[in-house]
């Protein structure tokens, strides 16, 4: 989007705008949405931090226990496993979807025959819910499902295993469908970014004798700076939020082998009914996301100021 603002016409209208701001209607325009978000987001967020300092089963009132939950987290092997899995998830799911999405955007950026179809094919899963995605892939992983049939067809039947039920493979078997769905999404973001690059830049580089790798390295990637920042934030936030696909495929099992912080938090809260402890896990997720959120906000702030 272009960021040109018509600030030039401000001076003659400033007085009128100032008087208009007192109108109760305008105040309501801002206050009503802000109040809705306060009730359902801001206030609950503050409560979330408070609950993390309590012991609470949801029936009796919460009791304040200070930092006990966090101390317990430090010694909780399941939590540590979920933390490691979340990092693996971030690196594999995040890294590969950026690489895959960027690669596909580069390959499919030029308008040519059938490109529209290829783009649409890669993008199709984005409109499915993650639960639908999970069920599609469950068929793939099923004993005697597509994966096993394919492996048998190429003579690799010794590799066959219960993909989702084997602690060694469960996490990766869940990452694959998540990637399948995310690559098309990231591709669309990069396609939009690539489209916004001035073709004259490439032309000039070509005239100067830059080969296609040099043009990618010194023209395309620097020009995509804005998109890169957005994609990075989206990916990190998405990774930390990832829940649906794991919950639909393995619920974090077997033996917590595909447990992420998000699924561990949910089962601790709503199955074990340890609401205080679960809140502490949620705070950890928040802290992990904080750097990215702040970075995103700083960007948005600069955007506003420009």
């Amino acid at each position: 989007m272009t960021a040109t603002i018509s600030t030039t016409s401000v001076t003659p209208t400033r007085r009128r705008r100032r008087s208009a701001r007192l109108s109760p209607l305008l105040v309501a325009f801002v206050l009503v949405p802000f109040a809705v978000e306060s009730v359902w987001v801001f206030w609950p967020a503050i409560q979330g931090f408070w609950f993390s300092l309590t012991r609470w089963d949801g029936m009796t009132p919460p009791t304040f226990v200070g930092t006990d939950n966090y101390v317990e987290l430090a010694g909780d092997a399941t939590f540590r496993g979920a933390l490691v899995n979340t990092v693996i998830w971030l690196v594999l799911f995040g890294g590969l979807s950026v690489l895959g999405g960027f690669g596909m955007a580069l390959v499919l950026q030029k308008e040519r025959r059938f490109v529209g179809f290829y783009r649409a094919a890669l993008f199709t899963p984005v409109v499915f819910s993650l639960v639908v995605t999970a069920l599609v892939w469950r068929v793939f992983y099923q004993p005697d499902g597509i994966a096993d049939t394919l492996l048998r067809a190429v003579g690799l039947e010794q590799l066959i295993r219960p993909w989702l039920a084997d602690p060694q493979t469960a996490l990766y078997a869940v990452i694959l469908p998540a990637l399948w769905r995310q690559i098309g999404y990231v591709m669309v973001l990069f396609l939009a970014g690539l489209k916004a690059i001035d073709p004259a830049l490439h032309e000039a580089a070509r005239v100067d004798g830059a080969n296609s790798w040099q043009r990618l390295r010194h023209v395309t990637i620097p020009q995509l700076k804005g998109v890169n920042a957005v994609v990075l934030s989206v990916i990190v936030i998405d990774s930390l939020r990832s829940f649906d696909i794991v919950w639909s495929l393995t619920k974090g099992g077997p033996y917590h082998s595909s447990e992420l912080l998000s699924t561990y938090m949910y089962s601790t809260a709503f199955q074990s009914l340890r609401l205080g402890y679960a809140s502490a896990i949620a705070v950890v997720i928040f802290v992990l996301a904080l750097a990215v959120i702040l970075g995103y906000l700083v960007r948005a702030f600069r955007e506003e100021a420009s």
Binding site: F51, G58, A121, V127, I237
Partner: protein
């Protein structure tokens, strides 16, 4: 040489497209196979039967009809309400010098960037407290509240870039704030509203986490969580589960096909800004 490269490009892309569309087609085909066929030959084999009874089973016995109605009862008002509220906030914040407008805008955006996990327990408890727990109202409220920040931010960026002269002309013509909003700004913001509408429809329709946080009764579940329940109900009836999956995917695919252009530009809205 050039021909060879074109050939390689298309071969590679056709294989890749197959990898993306194949699993989907497989499920569609599987939804028309009979139980005996799948039991005898496995889910990995080619179809040797054809039936549409699976859809009837998923639709009525599996409760997909009820679930789809719930989904619509949640999604349509949520999209309308959140876009409506976001549009008013974006209008006021972008076109008037409201004190602290930038802080308000960023605070609202920040709310949307929060990981939902920090909100789950308080939101569940708050909806119990207000008696909304296990009703579709709770789900609508939380979807509106959580989505607002992002929609406001995007619409704000869009409205801010509209030329100021239009608003001035309307003001000189004697239009009040409400009229400028409904008669001038909203029609001009239509492209952004359409893009966000298509996006938010799929987001809310596809949601699982909020639904299973504020709802408990099976009869109240929208289609996404209901699909998980269907899986438990028809454990080894893969054809019925496949039919249920197709049913759950149809509405978002329909919205996508209808609003394709808006949908993709909506995704790009955030990226190029």
């Amino acid at each position: 040489m050039n021909k060879l490269r074109t050939g390689a490009f298309h071969t590679g892309m056709i294989l890749l497209s197959l990898l993306w569309l194949g699993p989907v087609l497989w499920v569609v085909v599987m939804s028309t196979r009979s139980f005996d066929d799948i039991a005898a030959h496995g889910v990995g084999s080619l179809p040797r039967s054809f039936t549409l009874d699976t859809y009837r089973q998923a639709w009525t016995d599996g409760g997909e009809l009820r679930a789809l109605i719930n989904s619509m009862l949640v999604t349509v008002p949520s999209v309308a309400l959140s876009l409506g509220l976001a549009a008013t906030a974006a209008f006021a914040l972008s076109r008037f010098r409201i004190p602290g407008r930038r802080t308000i805008l960023l605070l609202m955006l920040a709310g949307n960037l929060l990981p939902p996990q920090i909100l789950l327990i308080p939101v569940a408890k708050f909806s119990e407290l207000t008696g909304l727990y296990d009703t579709l109202w709770a789900l609508i409220a939380v979807q509106v509240g959580f989505g607002l920040g992002f929609y406001t931010f995007v619409l704000h960026g869009f409205m801010r870039d509209l030329p100021g002269e239009i608003q001035e002309a309307a003001t000189i013509d004697g239009a009040g704030t409400a009229q400028i909003f409904t008669k001038v700004m909203l029609p001009l913001t239509r492209p952004a509203l359409a893009a966000l509408g298509a996006l938010s429809f799929t987001w809310i329709f596809n949601d699982l986490l909020w639904a299973i946080t504020v709802l408990r009764t099976d009869d109240n579940m929208p289609v996404t969580p209901a699909l998980l329940a269907l899986q438990g109900q028809f454990v080894s009836s893969w054809n019925v589960i496949a039919a249920g999956t197709v049913i759950a995917a149809v509405p978002t695919v329909a919205v996508f096909l209808r609003f394709q252009r808006h949908f993709v530009s909506g995704l790009a809205l955030g990226a190029v800004k």
